[in-house]
Assembly symmetry: C3
Homo-oligomer: 363 residues x 3
């Protein structure tokens, strides 16, 4: 990984200044940068760090006075954070799995493996599975029967892709993700306490001991193009039709997406989000960490939910929501402010009661 | 997977109507059903879908007028959702792991493997482990020393069963489940800030830097018959005695069950539930997704907790609870309604104060 | 595992009484103890249990009258829970992976494996990885390129250690942990709705459909000495610098630690805790189960957070916090008490309004 300042600027559509032949080997924070590092300094607030490190070149904000900072060269970008995307792609050393098909990989003779595929040690590819050109399958991955993965994907290690799963191109998958676990779907011979409590808002009626009968998952999972799934996240099979994740969705670690859920395009779910069965999520939806969505509901396009928001019912398109249960962010802040003042209000109320009581006795 | 309408109806104890020799290859939603599919239509609300698809036969509610729907045949069931259990079992194509013992499976010579067992590629069975008749052990499963799994279980891939774990018959286990991780149990040489804060409800006293000493897990895990554990869920060893999961329990994905927990029979825990150490859960308990239960407490039989409910203390048998901290559902709804109105109440209170003040100055 | 009472007392720095040559084979709870078991009875409250079991020797609290309990021998300890640490270490039968390097383990020829290392079946050690003396690498572990693990570690099964990860001595790692997944870091070409909503506290402005561009993780993960990571927990790479976990930290199951997070020494995180990107956690911090911390914030030394606490902003050192959003525990309890009484307060307020109204009409 060594590039000239000129090469980097060209690759990320940014401007190069000064000694653009300078060679850069890695990216560093300003204060810890060595002489062959590109210091990353897109926020003027942290400019002091440069003097602590040894960087001779930095990625800076548009219009930054790089010469005054004592640098030999600079790359300037209009939106530094976005420039970081291209830069980090260039400089990523990756996992360095051995190229090609490892002799310990077990590939069913009916599977179809396209050109330029890497299959790492101890990976297993099931019957009739298809792996698209240029895709990397890491160690200990299990790609199930009749599943297919598109082109140029990167699957780290220990990943489960269940039977009959369909995944698009440029799939990024972190270690331990489970695509196509059976849905959690059980039924009692007669209406259960849960069904009664839901219908009555709290009364489960006469309780009868009933065992749970399993509903098998006949549907699978369909995932679009340009999707990323985080470490140890789980996406369940649908019951009859497939659970669906649209194009461009990015899912963080330890996320749970239950059976029959439909997620639109370009959604972003942070760590430990949970989405219950049969819920439909629109496009461009963003959930902070530990958000939860109840089953059988709808979240509209462009909804944004702050961390730990619990969506107990439908959220209309475009809303920014917060809290448990979720309400509009401004309503949540108003309710919370009032709650903070409530102990004092209760005290003042008690005082006012006394005042009124005295007034009453006077009149 | 091809059955006549008659065969299906007989298998799921339902009634067949019309051309009962019609052959069905898979189950579909009404609108997307092809001519060889059985349309699943147990809720009259969705009857319109039939006209969009090509189904010639459907699974319908009791008394449905199948002929008026233009069908050639029908199966009617009293409780359609329950009928789906038997139907989905018949039609499940499964994971299709290669049958028998794969040559790459490593089975300790002291392990005991009963008849009809499937052990998939790259599974490892430890010393003295016992696998019951008809059980399927998927790829990359590790079955630890001295553990035992009953008859007719299905373990998907990448599952950890630690040493000394005991599991009953008909165990269903999803990918990446961890049965028998070490409990999280640490102790400081002297009372820690946590112990003091718990005792005083918030005051941790003089804080001293102390390292944590590990308490090893000497207990194991015991799991009953007919239990299902979801993908990437974790059940810890007990400290001295075993952590216990009763018969018929169904546990969803990413659930955490800590050391020494005792769970009764026929409980159902949805995704991302967490149960802290040494807590005792009764029979027929149902937790919605993301529920949490504190350590060393008791949850009675037939308790139902809505999604994201946090049980900070004992919950008596039969209660339906909600909220954080958990209270009875009706109390939660009442508190929440009052909280929604609180900003307005605060404003009205301020007005009333002024009114009273004026009255006071008049008298 | 058989020791005399004398040997055990000496090993755990406790006092032996009576027939100290008695041999003990395992540790049990008093009521279920057999004649060769050491009953664990450190809380006088449970002394009754002894009479139900067959124990001839028990680990008791300091000053316990062991003879009156009908025991032949006893071990007494000042802090029984702490004594349990040493005792459980002695009596732990462990996982019993086959010793030495298993023939199916794949070790890159450039990797460095020190003396006394165990590498279990189907483990993979990548290029230039270093494994310290005495460390145990369990089945299906993948140790990535250029990573290093210190001395005397214990890695259970199915663990991912990504490329370039650095881990100290005496590392304990439970099954399915993911150290070094890629950070969840995405950026839109122009400011996104999330950026706008954060800046405006809820208004995302004109919404534009934008795809997410990936920021690759160039940093790695650095973990100190004496750290334990729970089953299926995930620690992400840093973006530029490493994500860092200090010495002596203990992390439970299903915990999510995002990119760039810095954790101090001797912290304890219970199950399902989530810490968002770039947050800095001090020393000796304790989080109960299901706690969450927002991104880019600071949690001071010695902070204790009760279960399910959501820290939405900075928490000063030494605070004991609770609730969502987190406030000081006493404030939380006060707010909660007031909220419980709020429905009644609202009713009383309405009554008072009427009273005042009547008073007003009188004057």
């Amino acid at each position: 990984m060594a590039f000239t300042v000129q090469e980097i600027a060209a690759a990320i559509d940014a401007e190069a200044h000064g000694n653009t032949d300078l060679i850069v080997e890695r990216v560093s924070e300003p204060a810890s940068a060595g002489p062959d590092d590109l210091a990353l300094l897109t926020n003027p607030k942290f400019a002091d760090g440069l003097t602590k490190g040894q960087a001779r070149v930095a990625l800076l904000w548009d219009g930054a006075d790089w010469q005054a900072m004592g640098l030999e060269a600079a790359i300037t970008a209009k939106r530094g954070r976005y420039a970081m995307s291209g830069l980090s792609r260039m400089m990523d050393p990756g996992q360095q799995f051995p190229e090609g098909i490892h002799p310990t990989a077990l590939i069913d003779e009916t599977a179809s493996v396209a050109e330029g595929v890497t299959i790492a040690p101890y990976a297993v590819i099931g019957p009739r599975a298809c792996i698209g050109a240029g895709t990397v399958i890491g160690p200990f991955c299990h790609i199930g029967a009749d599943s297919s993965i598109g082109k140029n994907g990167v699957l780290r290690d220990h990943i489960s892709v269940g039977a009959r799963v369909t995944i698009g191109d440029r799939f990024w998958c972190q270690p331990g993700a489970r695509i196509g676990a059976d849905g959690m779907s059980f039924v009692t011979p007669e209406a259960s306490g849960v069904e009664k409590a839901r219908a009555s808002l709290g009364d489960q009626g006469d309780v009868r001991e009933q065992a749970w009968a399993r509903i098998h998952s006949l549907g699978a999972v369909t995932i679009g193009d340009d999707v990323e799934i985080g470490a140890n996240s789980c996406i369940d099979y649908g019951t009859v039709r497939d659970t669906r994740i649209g194009n461009g969705c990015k899912v963080d670690n330890l996320v749970h997406i239950a059976h029959n859920v439909v997620v639109g395009n370009d959604c972003l779910f942070a760590g430990q989000v949970g989405i219950a069965g049969s819920t439909v999520i629109g496009n461009n939806v963003v959930f902070g960490g530990q958000c939860g969505v109840t089953d059988n509901t709808t979240i509209g396009d462009n909804v944004i939910a702050g961390g730990a928001t619990k969506m107990m019912s439908k959220v209309p398109a475009g809303q920014v929501v917060l809290g448990s249960p979720a309400v509009k962010m401004e309503t949540n802040l108003e309710m919370y402010k009032a709650l903070r003042r409530l102990p004092r209000l209760a005290k003042q109320f008690s005082d006012l009661q006394k005042t009124v009581s005295k007034l009453g006795s006077k009149t």
